[in-house]
């Protein structure tokens, strides 16, 4: 007997098979995906699972899918109407599984609901009715897009929000045949494709923003078919193959171009428009949809509901939104030493925003560091935001440091983080060492904060490896990245009241960042490589 999706004991007993009808009211989602069977009030999970035995959806064989099914049930049952409508749209799309995985990852990242729904639908909706099942972007791309958006500077965020708001609009308002959800997803995908050019010290950040802006204007109001064919180089529509692909004999170079087009819709869009003509007519002047008249009122009502669901709220303009980007700037300045700013200037700026005391000499350093931020930096933060961040650090402290670390690291590690204090975990009866080693077994590094009590110095380490078969024998490999120092020590050492001298004078491990894996599909980039043993786990 296999094990169920929860990973606990065998779910289905050896007794008589039980077949029950779902008692929940009929729901379109229930017909679309086995996960939706959980939607109702059925409490006998064993009976439900029995219906999937020996099918491709048997959760006993597919643990991640089983877990997703349970999550879906909880999501759906606890959701507001707008979220339920979104989940039904997700399931009705051609690529619902990856769409739902994207939705879960975006949930964990804390993406704003409208952005999360937009990106998840962009993953779930398929480009072409025939051939390879591909969404407008992948689940991992969706997550990267959300974090890249959140790490933009104030000007970039305003610009992007404006572009997202105008998606699907013409001069006279919303265009009936436009698909603003897909437009927005593609704009966000273009942002993700420029993540390496939108950093705080980027030299061509302005150009990158201008490219996104031109792309958003270019695709605005286009039909969905046009968006599908012209924002990829995959030849899904034989009538709309980009000239650079059609005229290329070298298969390896062709594959490289298609790959680049899959990353960057702007590149694909430009490649299709090489002749200089506009890619497609605006939806307002395109031929009317050919839907039967009898279904038109219902469709209109539904699209009106969806339009209301897709409306963008006001952009979050809190000063705290800029803090992760400031830390990004400081982190890069640290590794590039004096190339950007002097360590003293960086530390003074850092002390300022974290609410530290500012004596005269430090104020001078802070001011000189701030001039560098303004002159050399790309859209890092405004002066008011700096003051707001400082006030927050001195007062109520609403800043979520773990989420900020996740924003900075998740594109590289595939994880988001929850800050946990060692002492709190032990008091609550949890086992922090087991949590750390479990994360390491899953391939996720665990950042650890160590505090030197006497001089209130805080250092950061990362647990990056482990050895040992049993809890008592666990050894962890720690690195102090800023010093390039590595050490191996018994895991239980981390719980000592005073750590060994390698950690500093009278130091103790204070907190760790517990990682949660975001890539429910396969790393890297959600692409399975079976020839390397990297399989789709769903």
């Amino acid at each position: 007997m296999g094990r169920g999706g929860s990973g606990r004991a065998p779910i289905v007993g050896g007794g008589e098979k039980v077949r029950r009808r779902l008692r929940a009211p009929e729901d379109p989602a229930a017909e679309l995906m086995p996960a939706a069977e959980f939607l109702g009030n059925e409490t006998d999970f064993a009976a439900i699972l029995e219906g999937f035995r020996d099918t491709p959806f048997d959760p006993a064989r597919r643990r991640v899918l089983g877990r997703l099914m349970g999550m879906f049930a909880m999501d759906y049952q606890g959701a507001q109407p707008v979220e339920r409508r979104f989940l039904r749209r997700l399931l009705a799309a051609g690529n619902p599984r990856e769409g739902y995985v994207a939705n879960r990852g975006l949930h964990l990242c804390g993406a704003p609901p409208v952005i999360r729904r937009t990106l998840a639908l962009g993953v779930a909706e398929i480009r072409f009715a025939r051939g390879r099942v591909v969404g407008f972007l992948g689940a991992v791309q969706a997550r990267v897009a959300a974090t890249t958006f959140r790490l933009l500077g104030p000007r970039g965020r305003e610009l992007l929000w404006g572009l997202l708001t105008l998606a699907g609009h013409g001069d006279a308002g919303p265009l009936p045949d436009a698909d603003r959800v897909i437009e927005r997803a593609l704009i966000l995908k273009a942002v993700a494709a420029r993540r390496h050019r939108l950093g705080p010290w980027s030299r061509d950040g302005e150009t990158a923003l201008a490219e996104i802006s031109a792309f958003a204007v270019g695709i605005r109001g286009c039909t969905r078919q046009s968006l599908a064919a012209r924002t990829t180089l995959i030849p899904g529509d034989p009538k709309q193959i980009a000239p650079i692909i059609a005229g290329l004999d070298d298969p390896a170079a062709r594959a490289g171009l298609i790959a680049r087009g899959e990353i960057d819709p702007v590149f694909a869009w430009q490649a299709h428009g090489a002749s200089g003509e506009r890619a497609t007519a605006p939806a307002a002047t395109a031929p009317a949809a050919t839907a039967p008249a009898a279904t038109a009122p219902a469709a209109t009502a539904e699209s009106q509901v969806h339009a209301a669901d897709d409306a963008l709220p006001d952009l979050d303009r809190s000063a705290l939104v800029d803090r992760p980007r400031l830390h990004w700037a400081f982190a890069q300045a640290r590794v590039r030493r004096a190339e950007i700013m002097l360590p003293g200037e960086r530390e003074a700026l850092s002390d300022f925003i974290t609410g530290g005391k500012m004596h005269d000499k430090k104020v001078v350093l802070k001011d000189s560091g701030w001039r560098i931020v303004k002159d050399k930096g790309f859209d890092i933060a405004g002066e008011e935001a700096m003051q707001g961040i400082r006030l927050d650090a001195q007062g109520i402290y609403r800043f979520d440091s773990a989420r900020a670390l996740g924003d900075l690291l998740s594109r590289y590690t595939g994880a988001t983080y929850v800050r946990r204090m060692f002492s709190d975990q032990i008091t609550a009866g949890a086992d922090p060492l087991k949590q750390i080693v479990t994360a390491l077994i899953r391939g996720l590094a665990v950042p650890i904060v160590v505090h030197e009590l006497k001089i209130t110095l805080v250092k950061a380490f990362a647990a990056i490896g482990w050895q040992g078969d049993s809890a008592g024998a666990w050894q962890v490999e720690l690195t102090e990245p800023s010093m390039g120092k590595e050490m191996h020590l018994p895991a239980k050492t981390l719980l000592l009241p005073v750590l060994p001298p390698d950690f500093g004078r009278r130091a103790r491990a204070e907190a760790y960042m517990a990682p949660a894996a975001l890539d429910l599909l396969t790393p890297p980039f959600g692409i399975p490589f079976p020839a390397l043993g990297i399989e789709d786990q769903l």
Partner: protein, 143 residues
């Protein structure tokens, strides 16, 4: 370049990535940070190669990869790694292995760059009387 000698044996062993790559990954990550390689570029290069591997039907040579990734303006160290890893030609699987290897390097670089920022990231002012007087109710009452 001696730090890349390990690539001569290839990245794949027994149908998966070699087990002994992690020390090389860390060495390269430290070296690339030192020479100013942008971790963001390594990340997107890895994505490009991974997707390239998916689409690839015939082997690809280093020159083709260099031409296809020229838009990323790769640092000389990164180009050197590509040259050593690809050799004469790379199959789709070898290209995928290279992409995964670059992902590992980018992750190691990211840990070196961002983890030291963690103390500042989670820092807040001590709740001294001074700090309390600067904000909130105390400041309001003080007028």
């Amino acid at each position: 370049m001696s730090s890349m000698e390990y690539l001569q044996k290839g990245l794949i062993d027994g149908g998966k990535l070699r087990d002994d790559l992690m020390p090389h990954v860390r060495t390269l990550a430290a070296s690339w940070i030192e020479t100013g390689v942008d971790v963001g570029v390594v990340d997107i290069l890895a994505e490009h190669l991974a997707r390239w591997a998916v689409e690839l039907e015939a082997p690809v040579g280093f020159e083709q990869i260099a031409a296809g990734t020229a838009y990323l303006d790769l640092a000389p160290d990164v180009t050197e790694l590509l040259r050593e890893a690809v050799g004469q030609q790379a199959s789709a699987t070898e290209l995928a292995a290279l992409a995964v290897h670059l992902v590992d390097i980018a992750e190691a670089m990211a840990l070196v760059i961002f983890v030291p920022e963690l103390p500042a990231l989670s820092a807040k002012a001590d709740r001294t009387g001074d700090a309390a007087r600067m904000v909130g109710v105390a400041r309001h009452l003080k007028g």
